[in-house]
């Protein structure tokens, strides 16, 4: 089965240890995710490709308990929808990124918990291609 990332240049793939691809401003050092066309802090055009740390801490989180409308493209229906967690994950002192969490149970999510980037199945297309996406998974302590 072919595994394909949902978009190019969002995370390194295929990879044993995938990383999110961010941007770093050559002028002021601001870090974004994904790579932006210009710096949101100082406005300098052209940020540099910058790989982000794989581990971080959960700064805040919620759950997505209802099926989003289009353009959500998981192929799920009201009957098959699986709720997912969404967090704002702080990666070192560089940036916070919005990301799905592999855990959607509020009882198992804690502020400040350590999480790690994983690549997970998102949807399987009619031709058998598996579309994969990034998420953060709680690190077992």
């Amino acid at each position: 089965m072919t595994q394909v990332a949902f978009a190019d240049e969002v995370f390194t793939w295929p990879a044993d240890e995938p990383q999110l691809i961010g941007g770093k401003c050559g002028s002021c050092g601001a870090v974004t995710f994904p790579l932006a066309g210009s710096c949101p802090r100082c406005g300098t055009p052209g940020m540099e490709r910058h790989l982000l740390p794989r581990r971080g801490t959960l700064w805040t989180w919620t759950t997505q308990d209802f099926l989003p409308k289009e353009p959500y493209a998981s192929g799920e229906t009201l009957e098959t929808f699986q709720p997912y967690g969404v967090g704002l994950v702080q990666l070192g002192d560089e940036v916070r990124v919005e990301a799905r969490l592999t855990e959607a149970n509020p009882a198992k999510l804690r502020f400040g918990m350590e999480v790690e980037l994983v690549v997970v199945p998102f949807r399987t297309d009619a031709d058998g291609t598996e579309i994969v996406t990034f998420a953060f998974e709680p690190v077992e302590s």
């Binding site: 978009a7 308990d65 353009p71």
Partner: protein, 381 residues
Amino acid sequence: MEDVAIIGVGLHPFGRFGPKSAIEMGADAIRAALQDGGVRWQDVQFAFGGSFEVDNPDAVVGQLGLTGIPFMDVYNGCATAATALQLTADAIRAGKYEIGVAVGMDKHDPGAFTSDPVDYGAPAWYGEMGYFLTTKFFGMKINRYMHDHGISHRTLARVAAKGFRNGALNPNAFRRKPVPEDDILNSRMLNYPLTQYMFCAPNEGAAAAVLCRADLAERYTSKPIYLRATALRTRRYGAHEVHSTWAAVESDDAPTVYASRAAYEEAGIGPEDVDVIQLQDTDAGAEVIHMAENGFCAHGAQEALIADGATEIGGPLPINTDGGLIANGEPVGASGLRQVHELVRQLRGEAGDRQVQGTPRVGYAQLYGAPGTAAVTILST
């Protein structure tokens, strides 16, 4: 700079109205505002119209009379109606016109808003991967806020219950039935910690105001309400905002904080001078956070204030006296002028069962929405 007065306000009820178009609702709201102010449409020199769904709010002229006036259309997210109001006021302040109309109208499909994330400055995959939801942003923001400032789930339910209770007193509201706090807490979880009854619903409606140069106001009304401040701000680097794939580690205040400070400065007053308040309650948590972001209390003080009933119509900090977004829903283009309509009614002493105590002199309205835009309006007698 000329001072500006509001001499008429009008509202088309918020709710669901079958085949009736947003343009028709907008025309109804303007007619009501003209009648309220004793102004003829033929005397209106210009207008600003706001909408999310309607490309050309100016089409209301086809229903009101084709007088040829300049009519400018604006869209600015949840701050659309406050933007229309500010631009109308600015044109009078600058001396270009003497009398004008600000109107907002919308007609949304049921359910959470959707759109193309690219139009909000986010990548296309942001929607495809299930991130392009304002509701999950509000869930994340209030969840962290509750953790940092000791706000309970019960407080969120109290805020929503107050919204429904006030809505029951408002004949123009969408939801007019009180809902017990436990039913709110036990309704379906949408985005933890926010349940279904803690969220407002996109719906339909329109609102309008007639503004004029302040020295002309007494020709039209014995109770002019003066526009003391209109401030609009976008997000700064460091603010965590709606529809963003990332946030900076170094933090800055939300745009509401900056809009609020600017408005107080322009009006020359402080939060202690405000008698009646309208805040953006997209969800119950947003009302809690916005109480502090607008200077009405310290972060965390909401827990006790709300438990003590401070934000009720009879309390010292009456908030969302008409039921707010939770009871009225949110036709985006009209929402801010619905707030202004309520404040004008309150300041004139015309709010009926919802009337706040004493003789309110100062009203305050705040809007917040995607992609990190806030507006504050301050009115006084």
